[in-house]
Symmetry: C2
Subunit: 206 residues, 2 copies
Amino acid sequence: MTGLRERKKAETRAALGWAAIHLTAERGYDNVRVEDIAEAVGVSPRTFNNYFSSKAEAIASRHLDRSLRTAAALRERPADEPLWAALTQAALEQFTRGPEVEAMPSPGHAQWVAGVRTMLAEPALQGERLRAAAIAEAELAAAVAERTGTDLATDMYPRLVAAAASAAVAVAMQHYLDSADPPAPIERLITDAFTQVAAGLPAPSH
Amino acid sequence: MTGLRERKKAETRAALGWAAIHLTAERGYDNVRVEDIAEAVGVSPRTFNNYFSSKAEAIASRHLDRSLRTAAALRERPADEPLWAALTQAALEQFTRGPEVEAMPSPGHAQWVAGVRTMLAEPALQGERLRAAAIAEAELAAAVAERTGTDLATDMYPRLVAAAASAAVAVAMQHYLDSADPPAPIERLITDAFTQVAAGLPAPSH
DNA sequence: GGGCGATTTTGCGTGGCACGCATATTTGCG
DNA sequence: CGCAAATATGCGTGCCACGCAAAATCGCCC
């Protein structure tokens, strides 16, 4: 029942988010005014603030939407799959299909990658990005509670799992962006991170 | 070598942070203007922005300073102590001593607790708070790398450990604040959280 | 297929914020 | 004691978030 109305709304939201990202990546965060973003999408500046309460929130919105999909993906995994396997797969799905893979493009557009990196360094954005992650994490915790039969209100367990899983993805992504030279495939990094976390992160035996 | 100069600077910083917190807790976030905070400390509004680039940052600054102390505490732990034991103790220290325990006061001042809760619910603050946590987490990761002889540049391990440990503390604190009815002692919650994480968060055997 | 009610967009106005720049004041140190 | 460096302040500017009310839009039901 996705009415045309809500669909158009979602489209505008996405368009504003992408416009904010593109403009910021190519010009720098504070050389972009809200007015510019609105204009790029063909909408009034006031309308921008009907969708987002700040420039930063607009940029982080794409990240938020993707993260939320991880929680949804977990709910789709077969119920008899072991928890950590299901989590790993749910996370992997977000990076191996869908048109949004564009968001973190493969190397080649050095310009673009550099722009994104500069963007992510912006303090104002980091906060909003982390907030998006926190929102998605709450959703993930709910899904974990459901799957494991634990209780969000009384058990720390589901939140701990969600937090650890989110951290695994975040660290893998950071690692991927940092060591862009010969980039290890993101799938392997994510798998590795989950494996280590699920093993309790024992001190390396050297 | 703490010159009088830097000491006074640190004092002003802390005073501004506390003033921001107190005013916000009792009046609500957007009934406090930067001007009010500056006035409460006896400093010009412009000076406020020499210390912090936003109201939110000022409020989060106390949280940041405390979190940074966890990393410092880890470096102080005996080198032969197992990693996870050391992490647990380093985290616990921040809640069992020092004058900053005031920050999250024991029940009794319902007014104050309610104010703090409302404050933490403010979106603008959550971002800044999480950013502070991220900064501290980076510091913690460095300490972990040092202790375990791993390499921040090539291994995900230290960052994963730091992220997991931060998450453990954060979840414990959240649990503590949420279930204020008969509050389980924060020390037990933290210990529990660390134990579960260090065990790899196995699915509960039901 | 046409009008109606709900939703969405827009313009305008307001209060406040972040910060650059120039100036005055303080402070440590020789 | 006096100077150089650090810090505090005043002022001005551009931008932003958002409340409010008017106008446009659109799905839907008769």
